[in-house]
Symmetry: C2
Subunit: 213 residues, 2 copies
DNA sequence: GAGATAGAGAACGCAACCGTTCCTTCGACT
DNA sequence: AGTCGAAGGAACGGTTGCGTTCTCTATCTC
């Protein structure tokens, strides 16, 4: 995620600023360092121009490398994006137990907000919006982000039931989804970052009233 | 919305099937009929390839017309999409009052589901996902779709308060948004169409429990 | 230090889309 | 019927991305 971003390359300089004679005395990355830079560039391009308009040339320029380095590793844009998702999506299996449901939920929601404000969040947003739901990436997104998060939410609530924090009959899919849905909705309509005060409102005015015994 | 779709042009035939000598005996649309066909093509392209990868040539081919007819009316892709949204988004100001909150809400939710399953819904989804939130289209989307729907929801709930259907202190922005957010979330994660049974669950397990006196 | 590996970058021919122009033919109006 | 504006296309030169291949050289390995 740090990856030798030597200049603030928001403007996609076509190729290293064109100094004809000068051999560009910059370290030559390879292996993981280079791949990380490419993944970063993919995320940046995805959230900037979307999947359809994303080009290999654009990614190469944003990563300050050549196309060949990309084509040597991935046969197509699709594969590149798939690998990027695989390598960049957070794992999210932190086994938190703060003692009560509200702070458990607050913690997982905070992680969600950070994730949504990150480049990976922007890329996910672009992919989810643009792609038909039969696409492979959407499946990956499901398996790696949505499903684990939903499982975690359910886990937290069931723990609350055992603790007496949560009404047993309140743990339904649609209730579990309500909090995340509101946060995602807010992200889509107002853009990042999502105000933590909004998260508090979601917790106190929607989620807690629904599950309180 | 009907617009002389003479063939099922899902496959974007580059230009009217290439019959060299034959002068293509097809009616020549003009005025509103042609514009409607173009708007349809824009929606189809938006939901298929997204905004970034949408091209004027693609739209012209999908509408079975020439690029000139488009460039004669709109100076840019942006203007074309903006006008498309203006002309195609539903107005949604049906002043319904069925006597109780639940069926009022069910009605507005049903309209939402239909809208989300339509080509316009696909286009909205693509735009919301792909575009940064400083974009003009997003503003249009806000003013023409999101804001009216939210106002309508609030209206319905306030009517419920007056009727004794709804707890007065339940009418908060985040509660009003909960239902629509869940429906949109479902659309984004599972794709259209949204199962009416899911809508029922949203109503009975989330919205009604939150507002019931 | 010598050799092998692979990154940076330029260039290739090819295809798509750009925005414009032109021409023919249709359709609407008088 | 005759006129006129515009639709349907095709073609223009220019730009951009494609995927590949080339050279050169930095960096890693032995």
């Amino acid at each position: 995620m740090q990856a030798a971003r030597l200049r603030s390359s928001t403007t996609l300089a076509t190729a290293a600023d064109k100094n004809p004679g000068v051999p560009l005395f910059r370290c030559r990355r390879r292996g993981v360092a280079l791949e990380t830079a490419i993944y970063d560039a993919v995320l940046q391009q995805l959230s900037t121009v979307g999947f359809g308009a994303m080009t290999i040339e654009g990614v190469a320029a944003a990563a300050r490398t050549g196309k060949a380095a990309i084509y040597r590793r991935w046969p197509s844009k699709e594969e590149l994006v798939a690998d990027t998702l695989d390598n960049v999506l957070p794992s999210l299996d932190l086994p938190l137990d703060t003692g009560n449901v509200r702070s458990d939920l607050a913690e997982i929601f905070t992680v969600m907000l950070e994730m949504m404000a990150s480049p990976a969040g922007g890329a996910m947003q672009a992919l989810m919006g643009e792609l038909g739901h039969d696409h492979d990436f959407i499946t990956t997104l499901h398996e790696r982000v949505l499903a684990p998060r939903k499982a975690l939410m359910t886990e937290i609530m069931l723990r609350g039931v055992a603790r007496g924090d949560v009404r047993a009959d309140a743990v339904k899919p649609v209730v579990v989804e309500a909090g995340p849905a509101l946060l995602v909705h807010r992200l889509l309509t107002f853009g990042p970052p999502v105000d933590p005060a909004y998260m508090e409102a979601v917790l106190d005015d929607v989620v807690m009233p629904l599950i309180r015994p």
